[in-house]
């Protein structure tokens, strides 16, 4: 491999790699604003300018490929002076409203200002201001904070495949806006907020909800479809405030869709059943009860009946195996089927739902259920009197005609009013486990919050179901 020298450190590189990426590998961080590894290089912000020996002008590290024998310096007075100048230029028209800005604490402009900027301002002219139009339900725009890096424009053009973010006017008056001031239409709009290096594009969903430095972050995997995008779930006080994309070049690169980003909301939905609930002998609707009674009802409803087990393909491999074991040991002849997306019953039927990330299967572990040997559920099935339905939170509940129903997992009350009993279990952010995406890649869920309400792990529920109750 060819080698270059960056700040005295020898660095190997692949031909074509730019100086920023090579430097990163040997522990030299070059500050950037407009550069993003997932987007084309435009060299506009000029923050990454470095000194290259034998070159009289500073060169932008983003647009300069490393070359054999190249000697790069990133901390010389010339480089530092440029960084200071760029920070000054970017801040003269910036409102500096960090105290009320949602980006504060995770803002490239703020961080680079702290590291490279001057504590004093020499600007006494009137600041440039813009009026902001509404950009639709996902993104809140604040153009006054914008530093014209054009990441959003490039994201739209190159990743989302839609030319909706544009630059209008020219020079100092350049405004980054939507084409013809229309609302955003891409189903990937949340990424605009992820990649914005300032508080210019923020999530309406997250607006004024939480200071970013209070958020605890958990690296996990999205359950929105069979791609399994890598995400970071951010919580405080056992409440999730936000999901953002996490880099995985083999699965989702740097992006997630809005459906996946906002999917977590059901976890905190007020209609989620968080206590065991049963339909008593007389009651027409589900009523909260204790775990003992809930399980007792479940046992009684299913005892001595023909039972079918339905496993949501939104559950983990481990949960699937536990259910199989339970069905085998306790309900010997009972069949086990999986359900999830009515139109996608097998991995053969799965495929890309759009050219970006979304898959047709709206559950995360269809591949895993097949690996466990579980067959898809046929809605015309009538061979049982009782269905025990296990569900993670995404799988679409099948219609179950003329069967009594017991639910184990995550349900909203209106979905399960006809059920005999609900035993609340964990959503994807409350548990650990393994899911297999459409590529066959095993990925791990990690719990971001503690189980809500009285919900328990499926393993624990089945253990008590099998071993507890009245002794015969």
């Amino acid at each position: 491999m060819p080698k270059c020298i960056i700040d005295g450190r020898e660095a190997e590189f692949k031909p074509g790699e730019n100086i920023i990426e090579v430097a990163k590998r040997v522990g030299v961080e070059i500050p950037v604003f407009c550069y993003h590894p997932g987007l084309t290089v435009v060299a506009q912000c000029r923050m990454c300018a470095v000194e290259i020996e034998k070159n009289p002008k500073l060169q932008t590290a983003c647009s300069t490929p490393a070359a054999e024998g190249m000697v790069v310096h990133t901390t010389t007075p010339k480089v530092v002076q440029n960084q200071k100048a760029i920070m000054e230029f970017l801040l003269i028209n910036h409102p500096l409203d960090c105290p009320i800005c949602d980006k504060s604490g995770e803002c490239d402009l703020q961080d680079n200002s702290y590291k490279f900027g001057s504590p004093y301002s020499r600007y006494t002219e009137e600041r440039r201001t813009y009026l902001d139009l509404d950009m639709g339900p996902v993104i809140k725009k604040n153009m006054n904070r914008c530093i014209h890096c054009t990441r959003c424009i490039r994201f739209g053009d190159e990743i989302a495949g839609i030319h909706e973010m544009v630059a209008v006017k020219r020079g100092n008056w350049t405004e980054i806006t939507t084409l013809n001031s229309k609302e955003l239409t891409t189903e990937y709009a949340g990424n605009y907020a992820d990649i914005c290096p300032t508080g210019s594009l923020t999530l309406k969903d997250f607006r004024f909800k939480k200071r970013s430095w209070f958020l605890k972050k958990t690296a996990t995997v999205c359950e929105g479809c069979s791609r399994g995008c890598n995400i970071e779930v951010q919580e405080d006080g056992n409440t999730i405030y936000r999901c953002i994309a996490r880099e995985n070049l083999e699965v989702n690169k740097y992006w997630i869709c809005d459906e996946g980003r906002f999917n977590y909301h059901y976890v905190h939905d007020s209609a989620r059943v968080l206590e065991p609930a049963t339909k008593g002998a007389t009651a027409a609707s589900l009523t909260s009860t204790t775990w003992e009674q809930g399980l007792e009802v479940a046992r009684n409803v299913s005892a001595g009946k023909k039972v079918v087990f339905l496993v949501g393909s939104d559950l983990t491999l481990e949960e699937g195996q536990q259910i199989l074991d339970f069905a085998k040991s306790k309900y010997t002849s009972a069949p086990v089927y999986h359900f999830g997306t009515p139109t996608v019953k097998t991995t053969q039927e799965d495929g890309e739902a759009d050219p970006i990330l979304k898959m047709k299967s709206k559950t995360s572990n269809l591949n895993g259920m097949e690996k466990l040997g579980i067959k898809p559920f046929d809605p015309s099935f009538t061979g049982a009197e009782v269905a025990i339905v296990f569900r993670g939170g995404r799988a679409k509940l099948p219609e179950l005609k003329s069967m009594k129903r017991i639910g184990v997992g995550v349900f909203n009350l209106p979905q399960v009013e006809s059920y005999e009993a609900i035993l609340p279990s964990l959503s994807f952010v409350e548990k650990s486990g393994t899911i297999i995406n459409f590529q066959g890649k095993e990925q791990k869920l990690k719990p971001a919050i503690r189980p809500l309400g009285q919900s328990k792990a499926i393993a624990e529920i089945l253990m008590v179901w099998a071993n507890g109750g009245k002794k015969a």
């Binding site: 290089v41 435009v42 060299a43 506009q44 912000c45 000029r46 923050m47 300018a49 002008k57 500073l58 932008t60 647009s63 002076q81 440029n82 100048a85 760029i86 000054e88 230029f89 970017l90 003269i92 028209n93 020499r122 600007y123 002219e125 440039r128 530093i147 014209h148 054009t150 630059a167 006017k169 020219r170 020079g171 100092n172 008056w173 350049t174």
Partner: protein
């Protein structure tokens, strides 16, 4: 128009700058029109580029890059079509020579482009003309029609087997589209913003194909070079590495402004101003000279004995640029002039890169404040700091173009600025 040439040297352009020279008939009769392209078809591509290199023709748009060398950068084989683009954006303030070429001798440009297209292997050419030149665009279109009809453009030109199509593309009035990569973006229908280089246009230019972008005067000089040889052209110039004659655009406070043609390196600024342009209006004293378009650092009255050519200008810290000489007399407010120039660059910055977008406006604001009588002592140092932070730091040369005049005006005419700051108004007013 001008009787200014050394007796022994022919002028190439200026004697033809008259209305009757426009049609094809005149070009064929009085300028040996389209004979040179026939000669070129008999030469190899390497021979033509070789003559261009020998000629020391240096780009007349402002950067003075040797044209032959530029043509040599075009790859012989290319999977994508190659293009020859004429930069007729002529947007550097003070420059108006290309307009005369297009207005009076459009066929000279067309013939130059056919030869250029043949030399680099391009079958498509564009003339990107600034939007304000509506009349010239129409004249070019008419000339192109004439040339198609007579078989000098189109398929199998003069039986050579070489095809060349030429189209006029009008800009929408942006200075930045004179920068060659912004021009190409604009030509492709995109926002007129300069591209990151590399790749240079010779590798990936218009529509991704190898592209040469040359100024009007540059391309219009090609027929003379191929007709008479590169050595002949090089010898027209009086200095090393600077061949041919050159059109100068003189404007401002002189008695006889206009377009002049001199052999490269044959005259000083003083000769141009006082001999050829008959001195300053009203016989006032000279205050300053902008020697190469508004982006060239300004010269004081003491600095005009410099030879008006590429290297001598560069040696004294300014540039010949597009050879647009703006002459300023003693009674004109230098702060007002710089405010106007700074406004221009702020207005014309494309806005994509930070130092130019923010710096050009900031400089303009400060200078405007000084002119309005609200300047402060620290403003001058601040202005110089900003020019340091903008110059050589931007994506294209517009940042340098904006910083150069500000730095040179403030350094060379500091007393004028201080008088505005301390007195609150122009001392000359």
């Amino acid at each position: 128009m001008s009787d200014t040439m050394d007796e022994t040297v022919e002028t190439m352009f200026i004697q033809h700058f008259q209305e009757e020279s426009r049609p094809l008939a005149y070009y064929l009769k009085s300028m040996d029109g389209y004979k040179t392209v026939k000669k070129a078809f008999g030469m190899s591509q390497d021979d033509i580029i070789g003559e261009m290199k020998k000629s020391w023709l240096r780009g007349r748009g402002g950067a003075s890059f040797p044209t032959g060398t530029k043509w040599g950068f075009i790859p012989k084989q290319s999977p994508k079509p190659k293009y020859l683009v004429c930069n007729a954006d002529e947007s550097e303030p003070g420059t108006f020579k290309d307009r005369d070429i297009m207005r009076y001798t459009p066929h000279l440009l067309i013939e130059g482009m056919v030869i250029g297209g043949f030399a680099i292997g391009a079958h498509v050419g564009y003339i990107y003309i600034r939007g304000e030149y509506a009349r010239e665009a129409k004249l070019l279109d008419e000339a192109i029609d004439e040339a198609y009809e007579a078989g000098y453009l189109g398929k199998n030109i003069l039986g050579s087997g070489f095809d060349f199509d030429l189209t006029v593309h009008r800009g929408a009035g942006a200075y930045i589209c004179g920068e060659e990569t912004a021009l190409l973006n604009s030509l492709e229908g995109k926002r007129g913003e300069p591209r990151v280089k590399p790749p240079f246009p010779a590798q990936a230019g218009a529509f991704g194909g190898p592209t040469i972008v040359n100024n009007v005067e540059t391309l219009a000089s090609v027929p003379f070079i191929i007709k008479n040889g590169g050595d002949w052209y090089a010898k027209l110039g009086k200095l090393e590495k600077s061949g041919g004659t050159r059109l100068f655009c003189v404007s401002g406070h002189v008695k006889k402004p206009g377009v002049y043609e001199f052999a490269s390196g044959s005259v000083t600024l003083r000769q141009i101003i006082y001999e050829h342009c008959h001195g300053i209006l009203g016989d006032k004293k000279l205050k300053a000279v902008i020697p190469g378009g508004s982006s060239a650092p300004v010269l004081t009255a003491d600095e005009i004995d410099v030879i008006a050519d590429i290297e001598p200008m560069s040696k004294i810290g300014t540039m010949l640029g597009s050879a647009a000489i703006v002459v300023i007399s003693e009674d004109y407010c230098i702060v007002k002039l710089l405010r106007r120039i700074a406004h221009f660059y702020a207005h014309e910055s494309c806005g994509q890169c930070t130092p130019c977008r923010e710096g050009t406006r900031w400089m303009w604001d400060i200078i405007e404040r000084i002119e309005a009588g609200h300047g402060r002592d620290q403003d001058l140092q601040l202005l110089l700091d900003i020019t340091e932070n903008v110059g050589m730091k931007t994506l294209c040369a517009l940042g340098d173009a904006a910083a150069g005049p500000v730095a040179s005006f403030v350094k060379k005419f500091r007393a004028d600025f201080e008088a505005h700051i301390r007195g609150g108004k122009c001392p000359n007013a």
